[in-house]
Amino acid sequence: MKPRDLTDLALRNLREAILRNVLTTLGVAVGVASLVAMLSLGVGLQQLASRRLSQSGLFDTIFVTPKNSFRGVGRARREMESDKPPRPLDEGARKEFEKLPNVIEVFPQIRFFTEVRFNNKPYATVVAGLPESSRNSGAFDGMQGNFFSSPTADEAILQIEFAKDLSDKPASLLGQAITLRYAERQAIPAAGDSSSAPSEASEGFSVVPKELKLKIIGVVETEPAAGYGGYGNARLLMPLDTASTLRAAQVNDLRDIVRGSTANKVTFPSLSVRASSPSKVEALEASIKSMGFNAFSLLDASKSLRTFFSVFDLLLGIFGSLALAVATLGIVNTLVMAILERRREIGVLKALGAADADVQQLFFVEAGVMGLFGGFLGVFFGWALGRAITFGTNVYLKRQALNPIELSSVPWWLILAGIVFAVLVSLVAGLYPASRAAKLNPVDALRYE
């Protein structure tokens, strides 16, 4: 039979037992829907996690420290005794990092312990400088107020706990001024500056108390974490450039002075090097290490995260497929019933010259059509189910005063896969009934009442 006649005949047959076939098709739809909904949740969660994680900078950032830090006492001493002193992590190193391929940003960690005054009351806190790229880190998505208006603005974002210390109503802090008191590092001019030549030895530095007025422009709930050792404990955040112009004395300054190796040179306790994508991190990390620095990244964690989601998707897929397996049995049942009912008709078709293959194809097409309709409906149901779950979750999150999330995601490949899978499964379900119908003896079939 020609495909058009075959389809025409199959549709006619399906229409004939409309209720049963609609129910069977709905069974397929429910199966596909459960599969699509499960996988859409898996995909959605994975997208959510990887979006958050990549925005957070955890997986595309390399954390660089000088060789002599974070080392045990013994090892440090041994290195000190080696011929080559460890390279300082200074502005020169920073420039070199910026020139490496696939680097989009290099920024220092500026954090210092200091005192802020608000309403004439002192509060001790840790201040951290925040690079402009943190704007997209996701940590500021649901903040009160705004992100810094410019990278050099005299503005501050408070963490909610700190804001609560300052005021019972954190929201009321927005727009108010806060005074930052800090110790500015000033190089000491060489001893006997007028009479004798500057000695090679370090003169060190002095610290001078200074004040800076900052405007509170935002209150953030979650802790932004750009790089490791990030700003976890910092309670007052300010633009990185503003923070670096302060020349605030930092923890490592004293150590460097004692070592006397970097007189008058600003060094960084650490630098965060951001790669254009997590896939570039490994090579970048190796070249930074070869330059004589310590480098860390969380790439391994990202790999195991991907493995986790693959397994997660697989499990969701298996649970989703269970309903489809039941639907498959429904198709087999419906078609076997149809053979019994249409036995005589099959006999007539054969008497009129239908070959076994014609009868087989007819049943196959009927199964396929049920699968196709079931697939379309199922993808729609699955999408709707995903939306409903997302909606329900967001209602719950809203009650918990949390930001809404996109929990389910139905990418085009899932739509396509859902429909193709439904048709394939239906055709497999149609295999047995179709071959049984084809093998029906026409004489027996015609005798059947």
Binding site: D5, E345, A355, D358, P442
Partner: protein, 238 residues
């Protein structure tokens, strides 16, 4: 193939069924030749093997032994696909219970063999109309079989059997479900069509009187064997 060759030749045909441990000889060593254009009636009581013999000629069943020569080929040796093609192109069949598909209109029922033969749509319409004209049923083409009388349904079945222009028309108790007047009308139609189109007709019936009136020859069967073949005197109908 010449016109002198018979349309159907059965050579020592047997069809045995095994029912449990016993073997039933539904058709037992039957040899018979049916010339082209003949109207042959197969007579016999229930279980005599006449329907089994008809199914063998129709290519719906295969003989246990023997040869069935029709249209120059031995049906016993054809593959199931070739047999389907033979049923589609060489024979047309009508049944006691008409066997029209109830959810199709008359037109669609008649069109069905053309669909199976993959005839193009425009040609189908004209051939369906032609077949329905031959059985005088052009006015009810859009109706469903259940809306028609028994006689009308059988006429549709005849149109369906004719639409592929077969050389052999096989009828299995075509009047069995009809009152006698309608039955006679159907057989008159069959004979007229035979005269008009020159095809060979083999009809299974248990009504001896009708067989005598309409057929050229009568073959009587009993217990699977061919008992006698009798020629009806010409003009018996009148």
């Amino acid at each position: 193939m010449t016109d002198h060759q018979p349309a159907i030749r059965l050579e020592h045909i047997s069809r045995h069924y095994s029912m449990g441990e016993t073997s039933v000889r539904a058709v037992d060593d039957v040899s018979l030749s049916v010339p082209r254009g003949e109207f042959l009636a197969l007579l016999g009581s229930s279980g005599s093997g006449k329907s089994t013999l008809l199914n063998l000629v129709a290519g719906l069943d295969r003989p246990t032994s023997g040869a069935i020569l029709a249209n120059g080929q031995n049906l016993a040796r054809l593959s199931s696909l070739e047999l389907a093609r033979y049923r589609r192109n060489t024979v047309g069949m009508i049944f006691q219970s008409f066997n029209l598909l109830p959810r199709m209109t008359l037109e669609e029922n008649v069109e069905l063999p053309l669909r199976l033969a993959e005839v193009d749509r425009p040609e189908r319409a004209s051939r369906v109309r032609e077949a329905l004209e031959r059985v005088h049923l052009t006015h009810r083409v859009g109706h469903r079989p259940t809306e028609l009388s028994g006689g009308e349904q059988q006429r549709v079945a005849i149109a369906r059997a004719l639409v592929n222009r077969p050389q052999i028309l096989l009828a299995d108790e075509p009047t069995g479900n009809l009152d006698s007047a309608t039955g006679e009308a159907i057989l008159t139609l069959l004979r007229d069509l035979r005269d008009e189109l020159g095809m060979t007709v083999v009809m299974v019936t248990h009504e001896r009187l009708l067989a005598e009136r309409f057929a050229d020859r009568r073959a009587t069967m009993g217990d699977g064997r061919l008992l006698e073949v009798t020629a009806n005197p010409k003009g018996a109908l009148e």
